[in-house]
Symmetry: C2
Subunit: 354 residues, 2 copies
């Protein structure tokens, strides 16, 4: 029989290596995984022969099947990966997760709840655990996940799973209360993804807001409203706009519309649900020659670097997304108790609403 002619070099396995060396597969495996289970001399021989033959260590696919663990943790993002990777808050969260995983020898698999549908199901279930970030457009993605795998929700809730949150309502109350002490004549609110059906513009009586508990932005609105009431404003008379995606391009038209209102209708205080929104207001206001804070006061939410490393600095709430990620990762790895957790935030008095 002719030897098979093959372009690809035949891949070498642990078994091949054992045969080549005349030792058992157990010893080869131990050489890579449990150095104390064999003599240093044999280990050395195995490792150097492996190197010589181009064997780069046990195959991770086989290992994970055998051990039942992949050392991979999946993060399921509610938004697209393109959005999430370019959003400072999501990136901070991912960085915090990655930091903890790395130290404990795990790696990070990125998934999106808005992923392409056609793909083979279940390629995600290779992960040992799941961190789910943000309100999923549909919980279908989560159905493919075996029920016994650990799962943690961040910035939203999944029934019978632990969640990690920040104190959205009190934080929003705090920043709004501060802003309202300046007695603005025409406060306004810019929401983020708060309507049941998409709305990128002014919120009217026709729009239904998402229910409390569904989205953190509803809690932020509750905080704003409580502050308004506390300072004698009627929240029902305070105009609201809604933004569908936390990006400059999606924010800009809505904000342009607000800033182009006649002088006696244009808000002189805008309470924004994210720094991204507030920064977009800032850019567009500067282009129009509006003075901050004299003509327009402005608050954000998140405390991202871009809002602080600039002039004027944003008045905002700082949330520690990095720490939020660390905590979620520790919970998934079983290094912290798997129970609901709420992080505190901090009011930052910047220049946009001193």
């Amino acid at each position: 029989m002719e030897p098979p002619v093959s372009a690809a070099p035949p891949r070498i396995t642990l078994k091949d290596l054992a045969r080549e060396l005349g030792v058992s597969t157990a010893s080869v495996s131990n050489a890579f995984n449990r150095p104390d289970q064999l003599s240093p001399k044999l280990r050395e021989r195995i490792l150097s022969e492996a190197q010589r033959l181009g064997y780069s260590g046990p195959d991770a696919k086989a290992r994970s099947l055998r051990t039942g663990r992949s050392r991979i943790i999946a993060v399921v993002l509610a938004e697209t990966l393109t959005y999430s990777l370019n959003d400072a808050v999501a990136s901070e969260l991912l960085a915090g997760i990655a930091e903890v995983l790395d130290v404990h020898g795990h790696t990070l698999l990125l998934l999106s709840g808005r992923q392409h549908v056609s793909q083979a199901p279940g390629s995600a279930n290779i992960a040992d655990g799941f961190i789910v970030y943000g309100l999923m457009p549909s919980l279908k993605v989560l159905n493919d996940i075996p029920a016994q795998r650990p799962m943690v929700a961040v910035d939203f809730n999944i029934q019978s799973r632990p969640s990690v949150h920040v104190d959205n309502e009190p934080a929003s109350y705090a920043v709004a209360s501060h802003a309202l002490t300046a007695r603005p004549k025409r406060p306004g609110i810019i929401n983020l993804r708060l309507t049941e059906s998409p709305c990128n513009g002014r919120v009217t009586a026709e729009h239904t807001l998402l229910a409390a508990g569904q989205t953190i932005t509803r809690s932020r609105l509750a905080g704003f409203h409580r502050a308004l009431e506390g300072q004698g404003f009627d929240p029902a008379t305070v105009p609201m706009w809604n933004i569908e995606e936390n990006t400059f391009d999606v924010c800009a038209p809505v904000i342009g519309e607000i800033l182009d209102l006649p002088d006696d209708e244009r808000p002189d205080l805008l309470l924004c649900m994210s720094d991204r929104i507030a920064l977009t207001v800032l850019t567009l206001a500067e282009r129009r020659g509006l003075r901050i804070p004299e003509d327009l006061r402005l608050t954000g939410f998140d405390g991202i670097a871009e809002g602080q490393n600039r002039d004027p600095r944003l008045t905002t709430i700082r949330q520690d997304s990095h720490e939020k990620g660390r905590i979620a990762a520790r919970m998934i790895l079983g290094l912290a108790p798997r129970e609901d957790c709420m992080l505190h935030t901090e009011l930052i008095l910047g220049d946009t609403c001193p």
Copy 2:
């Protein structure tokens, strides 16, 4: 014999499900993977029984061992994940990669070349292919990767592997040539990670620069120097600073030092190797009351959104990192030829160097 008392619900496998239904394991597998291989009626029965028993589909670990494919592509980042996730250029690249992977049913595993060392080796080799981004501090990480797996280098070179680049030298030449037409009196250059040993500050004769071909920033410097010569400047007399990490906090002290030079020594043009550097200059210059571009002209490199969605807008080179990511992903998936590729860039005339 007593049944084992177990807290965890016994996990159900494809085999269990087949036995339960009285069909072969092949049929169950086909119900999930190859609908055309069995009758719709049987498939329906299998799927609904699976749902009832809480079987969420074939285990990905076993599947990937059996098929030899995980549908996971790993991105190995030269920087830490924390840095990379917070860097606009790296994030754009990742977004481009993720976009293509997603459409083709693959997922993204994030690894860092600066990862913690102690971890079990080879958990990375689960991936079907590898995209390696940026100059690795050590190529050791790459040693664990089986030689026959596809690998693509981005923004640097790996021997006998295809790479994806932008035209760094001509791009830098273009932006510098433009800036020099204003006949600055004291041009200066701010480099990014260009010295062999770490240097965060002024580059002197004692510092050795990384060799050409090792890092893209060397190509950028070559472009700057060619432009300087073309306009009658002696590059050797143009002061250079070096930045070790492309973040505000690491840039700020070096840039503070530059801006605090006496008026007759402070550069009136700064050619920066990244937008992040240029934006930091901008912030610190504004804080000092320097007028841009009257007192100081400024150019960047990258074309990130933060530099364009602001006033004044950055004069810079726009590189399409998103497209760079898409191309690398297509190469890895075998959808594009695996050969060296160079992307073109675009000069953006902003307000910082009109």
